[in-house]
C-alpha cells in the first residue's frame, strides 16, 4: 500500500507542469551560482597572485633587511569561499605585518569593489536559502488540502487505506522525488568547478558535500513545514498564504532583526572608541618616557660608533618597556571588546536560529570556513607570522625594528651592497580550520535543521490523522 502511494506521488510530481517549471528555474539558478562562484574564485586567484608578485617586486630594490619595516601578507582565496561567501567578502584580505604596532586586515572585497556589496547575495547559500525554500513551498503547499479540493482525498479514503500509511507515503514520495531531482541538478552543477579549472582538495569536496547535505536538510524543513501547513488548512489559497507569511518572516525578517536585537541587547564599544582610548594612553606614555629619554648619558671617551650602539641599546630598552605597557593596556581593551563581541554574536545567532535559514547559513559558513571566525583566524595566523617575521629580521639585522630607533648605515668601502633576496623571507601560509573542527562548529545548526524536520514531520503526521478528508 505504501509503495502504491509513494509511486503515485512520484509520478504525479514528475508529470506536473508546476514541477517542470519550478524545478527548471531552480536548476538554472543553482547552476548559475556554481558558475558565478567558480568565475569569482578564478578572478580572486588572479588578483591574489598579482598582489603577491607586486609585493615581491617592491622588495627587489632593497639592499638591507633593515629597510624592510613591514611585510605584506595576503589571505589566499579559497574556492569554497566563492560558493559560500559567508563573511569572506567583508574580511580584509591584506595585513601589513609590522614588528610592533597592531595588525589590521584591510582591503576587503567589498571595500575594493563596491559592486560586490550589491551582488553579494548570488552565492550558493543565497540560492539555497531563497530558492530551495520556495521550491519546497511551491510543491508542498497543496499536498493535502489540494487533494481535498480536488476530491481525490475522499476517493482515496473510500478505500481501506490507513491514514498513517497515506501521509507517510506522501511525505516519502515527495521527499524522494524532489531531493533526487535537486541532487542531480546540484551534482551536475558541481561539474562546473573542474570544467572551469577550479580544483578542490579531497578535504574541500567533503566540506562541499556536507554543505549540499545541509542545503537538502534545509529543503526538508520547508517541505515538511509545507505539508504540515497543508494538513492544517482546508483550502490551497489559505495554505499558500500562510506559508508565504512564514517564509517572509523566517527567511527575510528573523535573521536580520536578530542582528538588530543583539545590537540593542549587548553593548560593544566601537573600534573608534577603542582607538581613541589607546591614543590617549600612548600619549600619556610618551610624556612619561620623554623625561626618561632626556636622562641618557654616554660613558666618557667612547668612540662615536660605540656611542651609537649605546644609544640604540638605551632607546631599545626604553621602547621595549613602553611597548610592554602599551601592549598590556591595548590587549585588555581588545580582549574586553572581543568578549563582548562574542556575547553579542552568540545572542544574535541564537535569536536568528529560530529561522532555519539562519541555521543553514551558519552551518554552511562553518563548513566552508567562511564563518565569522575567519577574521580572527586570519588575524591569529598573522600574529603568529609576525613572530616568525620578527625573528627572521632580528636574525638578519641583529636588531628589533620600529620603536623610534635610528640606524645609520656606514658604508666604509664604497662598495655597492648586495640586494636582499626576498625568497629568503619566511612564507605566510593560511590553513582553514581543520575539517573536524568545522564539522563540530556546524553541528549545532545541522542538529537544529534535523530537529525542525522532525518536528514538522510529526506535526504533519498528527494533523493528518485527524484531518477531515471530505
Amino acid at each position: 500500500m505504501l509503495k502504491v502511494i509513494v509511486e503515485k506521488e512520484i509520478r504525479e510530481i514528475l508529470g506536473s507542469v508546476k514541477f517542470v517549471i519550478t524545478f527548471g528555474a531552480c536548476a538554472v539558478l543553482i547552476l548559475l551560482s556554481f558558475y558565478i562562484g567558480a568565475a569569482n574564485h578564478k578572478a580572486n586567484v588572479e588578483q591574489y597572485n598579482a598582489a603577491k608578485a607586486e609585493n615581491t617586486r617592491q622588495m627587489e630594490g632593497l639592499t638591507s633587511w633593515m629597510s624592510l619595516e613591514q611585510h605584506r601578507i595576503f589571505l589566499p582565496p579559497q574556492p569554497l569561499a566563492a560558493l559560500v561567501t559567508g563573511s569572506s567578502n567583508d574580511v580584509g584580505r591584506t595585513i601589513d605585518v609590522h614588528r610592533r604596532s597592531e595588525l589590521a586586515a584591510v582591503d576587503s572585497k567589498f571595500n575594493e569593489d563596491p559592486i560586490y556589496a550589491v551582488f553579494r547575495f548570488l552565492d550558493l547559500t543565497f540560492i539555497f536559502q531563497i530558492v530551495l525554500s520556495l521550491f519546497a513551498i511551491m510543491l508542498g503547499y497543496d499536498a493535502i488540502c489540494g487533494e481535498k479540493e480536488r476530491g481525490t482525498l475522499r476517493l482515496s479514503f473510500a478505500n481501506p487505506v490507513p491514514r498513517a500509511t497515506y501521509i507517510l507515503g506522501k511525505l516519502l514520495g515527495s521527499f524522494i522525488t524532489l531531493v533526487t531531482a535537486l541532487l542531480i541538478a546540484i551534482l551536475l552543477s558541481c561539474l562546473i568547478l573542474p570544467l572551469l579549472g577550479v580544483s578542490l582538495t579531497g578535504d574541500e569536496w567533503i566540506r562541499l558535500a556536507a554543505i549540499i547535505g545541509t542545503g537538502l536538510l534545509y529543503f526538508g524543513v520547508f517541505l515538511t513545514l509545507s505539508v504540515f501547513v497543508s494538513s492544517r488548512t482546508h483550502r490551497t489559497s489559505s495554505a499558500f498564504l500562510a506559508l508565504l507569511v512564514i517564509w517572509v518572516v523566517s527567511v527575510l525578517i528573523v535573521p536580520r532583526s536578530a542582528t538588530l536585537l543583539a545590537g540593542r541587547a549587548v553593548d560593544v564599544p566601537s573600534i573608534d572608541e577603542l582607538a581613541a582610548q589607546k591614543t590617549s594612553f600612548s600619549r600619556q606614555l610618551w610624556t612619561e618616557y620623554r623625561d626618561a629619554m632626556g636622562s641618557f648619558s654616554a660613558p666618557k671617551d667612547i668612540d662615536p660608533h660605540d656611542m651609537m650602539t649605546h644609544f640604540n641599546k638605551f632607546m631599545d630598552s626604553l621602547s621595549t618597556e613602553r611597548e610592554a605597557k602599551m601592549k598590556v593596556f591595548s590587549d585588555r581593551l581588545n580582549e574586553d571588546r572581543f568578549n563582548r563581541q562574542v556575547v553579542q554574536q552568540k545572542f544574535a545567532f541564537n535569536v536568528a536560529r529560530v529561522s532555519p535559514a539562519a541555521s543553514m547559513n551558519l552551518a554552511a559558513a562553518n563548513l566552508a570556513g567562511t564563518s565569522i571566525g575567519l577574521k580572527n583566524r586570519f588575524h591569529e595566523t598573522a600574529m603568529e607570522y609576525r613572530k616568525v617575521f620578527g625573528d627572521f629580521i632580528r636574525e638578519k639585522t641583529g636588531m628589533n625594528l620600529g620603536g623610534g630607533m635610528i640606524y645609520v648605515e656606514i658604508n666604509d668601502d664604497g662598495e655597492k651592497p648586495d640586494p636582499i633576496d626576498p625568497s629568503e623571507l619566511p612564507v605566510y601560509t593560511y590553513s582553514p580550520k581543520p575539517l573536524m573542527a568545522s564539522f563540530s562548529a556546524a553541528f549545532v545548526d545541522i542538529g537544529i535543521l534535523a530537529l525542525f524536520n522532525l518536528i514538522f514531520f510529526v506535526g504533519a503526521f498528527v494533523s493528518f490523522i485527524r484531518y477531515d478528508v471530505r
Binding site: V4, E12, R150, G151, T152, L155, A158, N159, P160, P162
Partner: protein
C-alpha cells in the same frame, strides 16, 4: 429481484438509528434506519441539506455517527473502517481526480489503492468503454476533461474496485442526457451482477426508472420509504411535492 428481497438474506448496507449532529449543533441526521439488500438499488431523494451526503459519509466513516451505526455486510463502519471500506465503492459528486494523470493512470492508481493490482491495460480500456468514455480520451490528461468526462472516470473507478456495495452521491449531476441514460443502463447491469447500490439524486424520473426502493428525506429524517412496486402507476414527482409540503406543514403546525 423482489423474490430476493423476501428471502432472509442478510442486508448488505444497514443504517440503524443513524444520528449525526455536527459540531456546530446542526442535526443533519435524526435517527434514520434502512437497509439495502444484495442486488437492490436504493435511492435517496430530498432537498438540499436533507442529509443525503451525510448518510453516505457515515457509511464511508468520513465522519463518526453521534448515535446509531452504519453497517456494511454486518461490519460497523466506525468500529472497523478498513474492513468496511474493502466492501464498498464510492462515486462522489464533482471529483476532479488527478489532473496530471491520464484517465488510465487515474484508474490504475485508484484500483491499486483499492486492492486490485492485477488489472491490465485492456481492463482499463474496457472499464472506460463501459462508461462510454471515447477511446481517444483514455490516454489524455484529465486536466482537459469536462465535468461529465471526469464523472465517467469516477464511475469507471468504482466499477473496477469490484466491491459488492456501491455508494453514489449525485452521480448524474454532470452527465449529459445521453450519458445519464447510459448510466441508468450501467447501474442496471451492475445490479444484475448482484451489487447493492445506495444512491442520492435530485433526478426524480431516473430515480423512479431504476430504484427498487425510494426514500424521501427531509431535515435529516426519512419521511417516505417505499418499494417501487408500491409506487407503480403513481406520479412520483407529485408524491414528492406532497410529502415535502405536507412535512413542512406538519412541522409548522407542530
Amino acid at each position: 429481484m423482489s423474490e430476493n428481497i423476501l428471502t432472509i438474506e442478510k442486508p448488505r448496507l444497514e443504517a440503524i438509528n443513524l444520528t449525526k449532529r455536527y459540531r456546530d449543533g446542526v442535526l443533519a441526521l435524526d435517527n434514520i434506519s434502512f437497509s439495502v439488500q444484495p442486488g437492490e438499488i436504493f435511492v435517496m431523494l430530498g432537498g438540499n441539506g436533507a442529509g443525503k451526503t451525510t448518510t453516505i459519509n457515515l457509511f464511508l466513516n468520513f465522519i463518526e455517527p453521534t448515535e446509531g451505526e452504519a453497517r456494511i455486510d454486518g461490519i460497523i463502519t466506525h468500529k472497523d473502517p478498513l474492513a468496511a471500506k474493502e466492501r464498498v465503492s464510492f462515486v462522489s459528486e464533482n471529483v476532479m481526480l488527478y489532473g496530471d494523470f491520464t484517465a488510465v493512470q487515474n484508474l490504475d492508481y485508484f484500483s491499486r489503492i483499492g486492492g486490485q493490482s492485477e488489472y491490465t491495460k485492456d481492463d482499463y480500456r474496457d472499464a472506460l468503454l463501459r462508461v462510454n468514455l471515447a477511446e481517444e480520451a483514455h490516454h489524455k490528461k484529465l486536466r482537459g476533461f469536462s465535468k461529465g468526462m471526469r464523472q465517467k472516470c469516477g464511475i469507471a473507478i468504482a466499477i473496477l474496485k469490484g466491491a459488492p456495495a456501491i455508494l453514489l452521491d449525485e452521480p448524474t449531476s454532470g452527465l449529459d442526457p445521453k450519458a445519464g441514460h447510459d448510466f441508468i443502463h450501467l447501474l442496471k447491469s451492475l445490479q444484475k451482477e448482484g451489487k447493492s447500490i445506495l444512491m442520492s439524486t435530485h433526478d426524480i424520473f431516473r430515480a423512479k426508472a431504476i430504484a427498487d426502493t425510494i426514500a424521501i428525506m427531509n431535515n435529516g429524517r426519512i419521511i417516505m420509504l417505499k418499494k417501487s412496486s408500491e409506487l407503480a402507476g403513481c406520479n412520483l414527482e407529485e408524491l414528492y411535492m406532497q410529502y415535502m409540503t405536507g412535512h413542512d406543514g406538519q412541522r409548522l403546525a407542530g
